[in-house]
């Protein structure tokens, strides 16, 4: 069923929000999947993608897996868990890594994508595939005590490349191993990603559309939501010359925002 996704009251975008793709079933994907299941996602079609088996070290924060699942592909363990609790759930499993060769096909078959991957290259790949397919998605990331999320409405709000341009050159997996992933922080971000998907399937504008949320539980802890504007020169098509003019006109009335 195609729903109307309100885009700020001025226009609407035709978005069907029945088929949701979750890429990654780790610290972010597990809480996102669980939240969607609790929220009634059994009436939706969920697709889960992850190439890895469950490891014992996952169990503390990837709470749907049990020790007996060790060695089982995460997509199989997660699907079994899901069906035990929500027998009418419709879940499609792909025990594969999202790659340039399969991303376009997978993304195009879905109406909303949750990026729950664990590395920058995959996040940029999801961004590019979703921009090409014009599929909205919610990016999520977590390292140590810091988490981040942003929803992208292709062609309308800033994309990951508008904001960060290219993946960082260093190895994020290395920094994850050093800083670890803190379960409650990953849980907070994953649940928020699910809430963004829920807003989309209810034809409501996701709250983090064009806004990047940083949840930093370390040191002087803070939650910061920054509105991000599309970047001229980014190929995603969200930047429009008239939007810059509109912002310039508005700015004198809203200093400090």
């Amino acid at each position: 069923m195609a729903l109307r996704l309100s885009t700020g009251g001025r226009s609407t975008t035709e978005v069907a929000t029945e088929r949701i793709l979750i890429v990654g079933l780790g610290g972010l994907g597990v809480p996102a999947l669980w939240a969607l299941a609790r929220a009634g996602a059994q009436r939706k079609r969920l697709t889960i993608v992850d190439p890895d088996p469950v490891e014992l070290s996952n169990l503390a924060r990837q709470v749907i897996y049990r020790s007996r699942d060790a060695g089982t592909p995460k997509v199989d363990a997660a699907a079994r868990w899901l069906v035990e609790r929500f027998p009418d759930v419709n879940v499609e499993r792909h025990p594969i890594a999202l790659e340039a060769s399969n991303a376009a096909r997978l993304v195009a078959a879905h109406d909303f994508v949750i990026d729950a991957t664990d590395n920058p290259a995959a996040k940029f790949l999801i961004n590019d595939a979703c921009i090409a397919a014009r599929t909205p998605f919610v990016y999520g990331g977590v390292v140590g005590m810091t988490g981040q999320a942003m929803t992208v409405i292709p062609g309308e709000t800033a994309c990951i490349r508008c904001v960060f341009e290219t993946p960082p050159d260093d190895n994020e997996n290395q920094s994850c191993r050093e800083a670890g992933i803190v379960g409650p922080v990953a849980g907070a971000i994953g649940e928020m990603q699910a809430a963004e998907a829920m807003r989309a399937w209810r034809a409501q504008r996701p709250l983090l559309s064009g806004k990047i949320l940083t949840y930093d539980a370390s040191g002087p802890a803070r939650v910061r939501i920054a509105a991000v504007s599309p970047r001229p020169g980014c190929g995603c098509g969200a930047w429009k010359p008239e939007s810059r003019d509109a912002r310039s006109r508005r700015e004198p009335q809203s200093p400090g925002n």
């Binding site: 590395n119 999520g140 810091t146 341009e165 260093d170 997996n173 504007s229 700015e251 400090g256």
Partner: protein
Amino acid sequence: MLDSIATSITLNGDPYPLDRDTALTALLERLNMRRGRVAVEINHEIVPKARYDETMVRAGDHVEIINFVGGG
């Protein structure tokens, strides 16, 4: 110096002192942030990375520096 008039910007929502107009790259260095990992907005406009070297941060600017979080 105490008698100098402090110049300040708003950095991620909080006041941040700057004693003079400062190159964006110098500010990033002072904050120990690496340009390859961050996004910078000045007065609500994204600064393209190609312009970091020529961009100055001035008194009263609203600066948002966002570190990319790429794990999961």
